[in-house]
């Protein structure tokens, strides 16, 4: 509509990514802009696709354990656990109590480092160059040292095995873990003092990228994203896998479902993780770290299918496995990646916002392209 005083504009198609630091890897957003406002946005992925699933179908069951590290390379411990859990479900393997505790400790440490990094990178996307991210990476470094002490590797841990974990943890490592965990709340207080009531952060994050509760459920959104929208659903509470029924912790839930809620739910989740860790590190029993009946060499699984899932830091991480009659290799191996499915509603959240907001919204989804593209 042309009228005096109104400048006519054309819609503009912008391809954001794949080589762009704010897309957190090789990820592309095809955006259509009206002025600076997004009217259409299509995520484009697959740049890191390596057919992880087919690789796994061509080797024995244990062979793909190291490859699960490379899915979400921040959270190799919880990826290992999800795969081990699914295979244990298929084969009916029991896990000794000490191994269950070690798994909980590793998974919760992973949640701490994932969330702390996410907050750091989110602030990086907001333009707070360096400072919050470096505080976050400092804390992550301490946890990575623990991982290195138990598994020999900082990021690609390859630590869990069917029926337990690869090596036992020693008392020295547990003492170090207790020290780190006990100091973590003080760090969080400091971090929150810097961020939670920060005026810029509030202005940029509140009422931005709102995800309504009903849409979140219908679009299979899981993890902190869903909980920020008010969906009270935590697989640790619902499935009670491992020994999670023994710990006292709460599930933080947001109200509005905007970027700020997603930030704050993650901060609160870290506080709950600290509680779980303190209980687990206090109660960890002595005993074997691996079920001695499980022969990992020439490992076989009875025919049939099964689905196992855990509450990974990014959401529901599941493995759907099918074994054929030989049972030597997976006949079908499917990963249900939380960050891939959480991208389903990226367009819905971005419509009507500015380009700079889209970057922040993408940051708050928390994607890792190793997992999105597989």
């Amino acid at each position: 509509v042309s009228a005096p005083g109104i400048i006519e504009t054309q819609t503009l198609e912008v391809s954001i990514g794949p080589q762009h630091p704010s897309t957190h890897g090789v990820f592309r957003m095809d955006a259509v802009l009206e002025g600076e406002v997004i009217v259409k946005l299509k995520p484009v992925m697959g740049y890191l696709h390596r057919n992880h699933e087919q690789l796994a179908e061509k080797m024995v069951w244990l062979g793909s354990m190291p490859y699960t590290d490379r899915l979400d390379y921040f959270c190799s411990m919880s990826n290992n656990w999800a795969y081990a859990l699914a295979v244990e479900k298929l084969a009916g393997i029991k896990v000794p109590e000490r191994a269950e505790y070690i798994r909980v400790i590793m998974a919760e440490l992973t949640r701490l480092l994932n969330h702390v990094c996410l907050v750091g990178f989110l602030l990086q996307d907001l333009g707070a160059w360096g400072t919050p991210l470096l505080y976050a990476l400092r804390e992550r470094e301490k946890i990575l040292d623990l991982f290195e002490a138990v598994s020999g590797s900082r990021m690609m841990c390859n630590y869990m095995r069917f029926g337990g974990v690869r090596v036992d943890v020693d008392e020295q490592m547990l003492a170090q873990a207790r020290r780190i965990v006990d100091k973590f709340p003080a760090f969080l207080d400091e971090f929150e003092k810097l961020l939670t009531t920060n005026e810029v952060l509030m202005a940029r994050c509140q009422r931005v990228g709102i995800l309504p509760k009903q849409l979140a459920i219908n679009a299979s959104i899981t993890g902190p994203m869903a909980r920020a929208s008010g969906v009270e659903y935590d697989i640790r509470k619902v499935d009670r896998y491992g020994v999670y029924d023994r710990f006292e912790f709460r599930v933080p839930v947001g109200e509005v479902g905007d970027v700020y809620d997603r930030y704050y739910v993650r901060v609160l989740e870290m506080r709950e993780s600290v509680k779980i860790l303190q209980q687990a590190l206090r109660d960890i029993p002595a005993g074997p770290h691996q079920n001695p009946d499980v022969k990992l060499r020439n490992f076989r699984v009875p025919a049939g299918d099964g689905y196992g899932r855990i509450e990974a830091p990014k959401g529901e991480l599941g493995f759907y496995l099918v074994a054929d009659e030989t049972g030597k290799q997976p006949y079908r191996y499917h990963v249900r990646p939380p960050s891939f499915i959480n991208l389903t509603i990226l367009e819905d959240m971005c419509l009507g916002h500015k380009v700079a907001d889209a970057i922040v919204i993408l940051g708050s989804v928390d994607i890792v392209l190793g997992e999105v593209d597989r």
């Binding site: 679009a219 009875p302 079908r332 389903t344």
Partner: protein, 190 residues
């Protein structure tokens, strides 16, 4: 889950008349029996499972395909959970013939938005066409790609980048498949 899978099956049969339904057992230890539903009724069954107050399967957690080469069909598997009632999973299976032109099944994206990307992935990797899907495009492989790489009879080319020199089947395949490399360029490289 409230009651056994047999009760669920009977409830589905009453709610969706004419449905062909069968219980498929899972691995013995996993205890996740599935409902195998015919293609014509799967959408009605999905709507029933989502809306029925006893089940309220409001979240479709996982969608994937499995290629059963010997049996001659591709199975699409849906894992449903209920956030409202905190139970699950209900496993819903649909079978489509392997031949590409007949390999189609109704999309469940109109019922659960969460199927959108996952069905696109199943289409991309297995070649299952989902009727009624709003935006059925490749998602992981590139647009010019012709095959469906997760099918069990898929033969990968020797080298995707036609290096160091394409020859024999790889050259033929590259030329017929992609059409992106003009014959003269292939000749020159040779």
């Amino acid at each position: 889950l409230i009651g056994s899978v047999e009760i669920l099956r009977d409830a589905v049969v009453t709610a969706v008349p004419g449905v062909e339904i069968e219980i498929v057992s899972s691995a013995p230890a996993a205890q996740q029996p599935a409902l195998l539903v015919d293609r014509a009724h799967v959408l009605a069954v999905a709507r029933f499972l989502k809306d029925d107050s006893r089940y309220q399967m409001d979240i479709c957690s996982c969608v994937t395909g499995v290629d059963y080469l010997k049996q001659g069909y591709i199975e699409v598997v849906y894992h449903l959970y209920s956030v409202a009632l905190k139970h699950g999973p209900v496993v819903l299976k649909v079978r489509a013939p392997r031949e590409l032109e007949n390999c189609r099944t109704p999309s469940l994206t109109p019922v659960w938005r969460g199927c959108e990307f996952q069905e696109r992935e199943a289409y991309d990797l297995f070649g299952v066409k989902f009727d009624g899907h709003p935006d059925l495009r490749r998602i992981l492989m590139w647009d010019g790609f012709k095959d469906h790489p997760m099918r069990k009879d898929y033969a990968p080319p020797m080298d995707y980048e036609w290096e160091p020199t394409p020859h024999d089947e790889t050259l033929e395949r590259a030329q017929s498949q992609a059409g992106t490399i003009p014959p003269s360029a292939a000749e020159a490289k040779r």
